[in-house]
Symmetry: D2
Subunit: 334 residues, 4 copies
Amino acid sequence: MNVVSYHPGPDELSYTFGGRAPVGRVRPGTILELFTEDCFGGRVTSVSDLPSQVCEFPYLNPVTGPFHVEGAEPGDTLALHFVSIAPARDHAWSSTFPLFGALTGTHTTATLQPPLEERVWRYDLDLSRRTALFQARNSDYTVELPLDPMHGTVGVAPAANEARMTITPDAHGGNMDTTELRAGVTVYLGVNVEGGLFAIGDGHARQGEGEVCGTALECAMNTVVAVELIKGVATPWPRMEDDTHLMSTGSARPLEDAYRISQHDLVTWTASLTGLDLLDAYQLVSQAGRAPVGNVCDTNYTMVAKIPKACLDGPEVYESAHARLRELADAYRA
Amino acid sequence: MNVVSYHPGPDELSYTFGGRAPVGRVRPGTILELFTEDCFGGRVTSVSDLPSQVCEFPYLNPVTGPFHVEGAEPGDTLALHFVSIAPARDHAWSSTFPLFGALTGTHTTATLQPPLEERVWRYDLDLSRRTALFQARNSDYTVELPLDPMHGTVGVAPAANEARMTITPDAHGGNMDTTELRAGVTVYLGVNVEGGLFAIGDGHARQGEGEVCGTALECAMNTVVAVELIKGVATPWPRMEDDTHLMSTGSARPLEDAYRISQHDLVTWTASLTGLDLLDAYQLVSQAGRAPVGNVCDTNYTMVAKIPKACLDGPEVYESAHARLRELADAYRA
Amino acid sequence: MNVVSYHPGPDELSYTFGGRAPVGRVRPGTILELFTEDCFGGRVTSVSDLPSQVCEFPYLNPVTGPFHVEGAEPGDTLALHFVSIAPARDHAWSSTFPLFGALTGTHTTATLQPPLEERVWRYDLDLSRRTALFQARNSDYTVELPLDPMHGTVGVAPAANEARMTITPDAHGGNMDTTELRAGVTVYLGVNVEGGLFAIGDGHARQGEGEVCGTALECAMNTVVAVELIKGVATPWPRMEDDTHLMSTGSARPLEDAYRISQHDLVTWTASLTGLDLLDAYQLVSQAGRAPVGNVCDTNYTMVAKIPKACLDGPEVYESAHARLRELADAYRA
Amino acid sequence: MNVVSYHPGPDELSYTFGGRAPVGRVRPGTILELFTEDCFGGRVTSVSDLPSQVCEFPYLNPVTGPFHVEGAEPGDTLALHFVSIAPARDHAWSSTFPLFGALTGTHTTATLQPPLEERVWRYDLDLSRRTALFQARNSDYTVELPLDPMHGTVGVAPAANEARMTITPDAHGGNMDTTELRAGVTVYLGVNVEGGLFAIGDGHARQGEGEVCGTALECAMNTVVAVELIKGVATPWPRMEDDTHLMSTGSARPLEDAYRISQHDLVTWTASLTGLDLLDAYQLVSQAGRAPVGNVCDTNYTMVAKIPKACLDGPEVYESAHARLRELADAYRA
């Protein structure tokens, strides 16, 4: 088994997808043990560290990578199986941020009202009990929430020679901020440039759907990823697979377009897997599908479209990459 | 116990919220046994009955009601507890409809492309096994889906002397098409006119999130509703409560505004229930909340914002109407 | 010549399209001399009269009417030619309004920020010099702006037994707030109910495009309208015609859908007038058309699509209603 | 006078803003004589050359540049005065393009309908009479339209180390496709990287507002630009100035956000130029402003906000760069 560990120093972090040389090369079949810094670059260390003061634009939402996957060429698909996602610290941070979030005017939904107060919350994480403690800032209210670690950001170098801030989700992946991206999930990303150049970041100890205030329980992570390459199979938008479901994603504005992209991809994917014609597949997804909200706060919004594999008669997708990566993960853990 | 049964004839159905005299008067505390017709008015009886031919605009999406609740005045809230929602037939119908649905140009998202094919699907329902059978029209593909009966449409007469087609969801309720509106749920609706004038319709044997093709498993229903009135408590947008969660809704376009309305209402409601200040409540909802998509096909889109009551320290809401209605429902079933 | 004058008392004003008995009946060919109150119902009489205090929801944006046009039936079109629009007072009022306007959070674009300050501006009108004087509230800055009187609101009773607040523009017309609706323009409105039931209000001494703060130079008006009826010709969305241009409108959210509706209508109208096929008409409108913004602040946004008649080879539209109404207006003025 | 001419070869064209080395360096005060290729890269040479066949993604919408302006640093502003924009050929091309345009489903407004027909139109240009001839493809309908040459695309390297396809308008400029960008206009662009790295392309012999079908009268251009640099003055979004008006732009989705950005910028700019407080400036722009639509077809939509300088009491902006560049242009022409 080929296991590679990588813990980037502060200067090795990336802030764009595209436009950056790889930090390493991996062969398909590799297990990667990665450290990812939190979205604040680790600079928020107390509730008085306001992100707008301790962080410096555009050095936000760092990702670990990019990694060049040997043999990956445009038209292929990378499969990244998340073996485990473990908080690297015993606490996480969340905050409001001026003119960012769903319930505030922003730089694009521009209003003349003053920004909301910038405020930071500390969450103590109990990794054995799998809980995070919400502590109000202006009262003594506390409540325990279940841990549900995930990565907000995963992606590859975009097409068309673009370089995009890691904060932006689009067809190349990026900051989708979907709670579906948990351990046990395989993410499929279409390759746009030689080597694919994937990177991962923005760990969340947990997140509500939509990430309404703009941040989650932001946390550095120790994450293990198993890497595969499916040659000659293209993927138009990021997809996901777990043991029970297939998922498509879409990232756009307005939010209904994110919904449309994800549902359209799931309908056409369903048709190709089942032999249903387009309208029959549309009907099946309409009745059997779910639509978990990713983010409604980033520069593009993200929706997921999700269908039980049981509805598709046990489809084989991506040359059974998910099953093979599950086995590899089991072997790694053993 | 005051139990009232009502099975409307075809001429007694309503097609608007507002602008219509009540079909009956009920006292708070009443159990209502209702029959609701399907969204096609029962006119689709085979897969060759195309809705655009057998139905006549605007006689679509009929509702049963409106009912005048004695004592209800503007500024009060109606609580409608859905005791049971049972398919009234052994089959349901679904269809595409020209220029309606999320993955087609529509009358507002106007395009020059010809409409998608109009096609009807029949679902056989197995009420004992709680399944519905999807049967493709252009192949022999079939798959069983779980029943999950719900009502797409519930609402009251709107404010400001408006009358709105039942197809439109807004602050008065209407065609929200959320899968969360199941048996066991209490819906709270702000009263805008004397008597409130609530009505219910658009039963679905099941529905995917977003109702992407524009229709669900459309089915007449035998539905039992327990009615309560909370005096002097206003409700800005429809809310829901079940045994474990509180829910706010928002209906608007674009979809992010439906999300904003629902999350805004849940944040301010959370603040009022917990004593948290607005930003602390924003933070808590951001991390603990969910955002189930209602519809992304109707004239307004609908989102639900949802938080576990456990996160709110067992709040008392609406004078414990849900608990009381649960008891009433239990007594009724006994 | 049949000339009818109507000056409604405060109790005769209407606040919805639909759901209201007519205030009068007119025959096609009638000249109507109308008084319309301003959007504040005349209650703002000094800069210290804050609209949210002196006005009472839903008694905002009153219209004069509705008028029953004899012989009008569903499927016909009303033609309303605006002969003249004259400010009825020597001053106009404008204001911000809490949670209303394009550069503020609103009830639907819900944010947690406090509303903007509510502030009232008085404009002195010089009717001989055709100017209005902007006077800043917090400095001594003044500037003269040209008068350009228009009506924000014109419409008929909606289809489908709906009644809509006058503030909302939709397929029936309503509060479109387009600066194109000046004297010299003929407005075409599709008839949905017997008599059509048109009404007019919301005079503006002038308005910027989009009405960004939510109000214009709000002013009572003495307005003269010439009324015609085109039998058997339907109109899907309000259209306008002046001596040089044809115009279509669309009202929806998001704003691109208002654009799509208006452009789609102008393309299909162009095709029907010129014999161009749909794509050739699409191309011609794409290059020759303009798209004046109506409002970006109301419950639906409005866009206008506009093409020179010269590009359409002198089309005859609506049985030359505009030319005939121009002649009638000339005769009236003579 | 420093005059530089540059006619790029096919291999020297650029397809992104950012991520590309400069093709030349210019000093402030330079007059640049540029050739720009059309958006099809000159590959459409007959109506049977379908763009989707003769062009190759992502080699669409080429720009001439980027140019490094000596001394330009982040926080400065480039002023580009368009001295003249002259069609370089005696004809222009327009077309539909599969899944592109406002009245069709697209890759983001994803629908299941087949794309519209791809069709090409040739326009003969009469440069002396200043007309372009529309010729229908499916009939013998023709009409002359006035020439109104403009550039759809102008911009600088984006902030945050991004590289963006030239087709996308955003805060760095790009494919705004506004008819306001004519000869006689000065464009102000905030500098994000050393040298600014501006580029220009996508000439249109004329364009309708919104560019509804997705393309205009696409034409290679001989364009003369006068370049200035304003040190230490930042510009958040592209602005424009002509002899009579100041203009702000915004590019985003949905279209109302493009409107909000542009109006917000114009309001705050107005406040800074006049000393009006924010609400007084909001009021003045609301009544005196116009909002010409840029594009409603690109990956972001664009709106312009525009106010007469006369309303602002003859403001001095950008150190009178426009007046100085006008003089330079006059000297060049002399």
